[in-house]
Symmetry: C2
Subunit: 199 residues, 2 copies
């Protein structure tokens, strides 16, 4: 015996999500069936339809928005002299939450990853170069992840911008807050040592 | 800065699911936005609509189905002499996977739980009594969970069926497979001892 076809379909829909296996997907599907009212179904369907129709990348920075320009690009109080480059839209939100950065962003929509068939031309790099022609922008902060792919992408961008007047910086490598030296990996420790500053 | 409204809505939809907090819901929502194509949205919406329209409890046993009778109730090869009573539709599938039970099922759709305002009249008990009038049924196996509420419900059903010709049995209490005696709780150990059998 198996679940009726529609239930199997819903389980498969949930199994597409990252970190969701068969058991979790079953739990989500049965929760849906047991707990959702008519209106709940209508709401969920309406939300998915809205996402499909309304949400798109900001025409300037690539951040997800329901308008032509995202709320950060539209904000005249933001400091246009710096552009912080991140891999994903999600990273923008994480940095915004620290409430310390006042500049603009640029979302690459991924990283250079030859093994996944992603080259520089698949990222929003051309759009970045186009933006940088505007001489209000003075500094580009490379905030791709500290992974191999993130580092490669940062290096690629650094070389691309070498012969411009722009200041190109990379976020700091080192021990995380609360980090325990005995648990740190070698790369992190090396970077933390070579990046040491006067105390 | 926050996500656009439609994204917030989708995050909230996912947060309704059991065990899904804000961070996981965000991950699911962003996965949807980044990975879903037009057809993916249409498929998900269609699946939800199908679940809403097609899936209902089997008229006989209460198991979830897209027909009037579920595949187990329709199967003439199943042994009608035993009816196994479970709390939820999910339990049917779990027992079916063991491939050892050949009889029929009855889904109660919950357990007696005064603290949650669930009384016997809220469960599919009346439907069970109605079914049991058919004298093909000889044994009722009470397979509600071994929790307080499951035990209460089993006890309630046992008393209700005491003066009938039906054999009323309860699934065994004891140590689980691979169980470690030093980690077992007292109730389990007591039940395992009092339920001991000749080796």
């Amino acid at each position: 015996m198996e679940y009726p076809e529609a239930i199997e379909q819903l389980i498969e829909q949930f199994m597409r999500y990252p970190g969701v296996g068969r058991k979790t997907a079953e739990r989500y599907a049965l929760y849906t069936i047991n707990q959702f009212s008519e209106t709940d179904y209508a709401d969920f369907i309406e939300t998915l339809r809205r996402i499909d129709e309304e949400i798109k990348p900001c025409e300037q920075c690539g951040n997800l928005t329901d308008e032509t320009l995202c709320s950060i690009c539209k904000d005249k109080n933001r400091d246009a002299s710096t552009i912080l480059v991140v891999e994903e839209s999600k990273d923008v939100l994480v940095i915004e939450r620290t409430k310390t950065y006042q500049g603009l962003y640029h979302v690459l929509d991924g990283v250079i990853s030859p093994s996944n068939g992603v080259g520089p031309e698949d990222l929003r790099i051309k759009a970045l170069l186009e933006r940088l022609k505007d001489d209000r922008h003075k500094e580009v902060i490379l905030a791709t992840n500290l992974s191999d792919e993130g580092e490669t992408t940062a290096l690629y961008l650094q070389r691309l911008l070498k012969n411009t007047d722009l200041l190109v910086t990379r976020i700091a490598h080192g021990m995380p807050a609360g980090g325990n030296i005995s648990y740190a990996d070698e790369v992190t420790l090396n970077k933390a040592l070579s990046g040491r500053s006067k105390f």
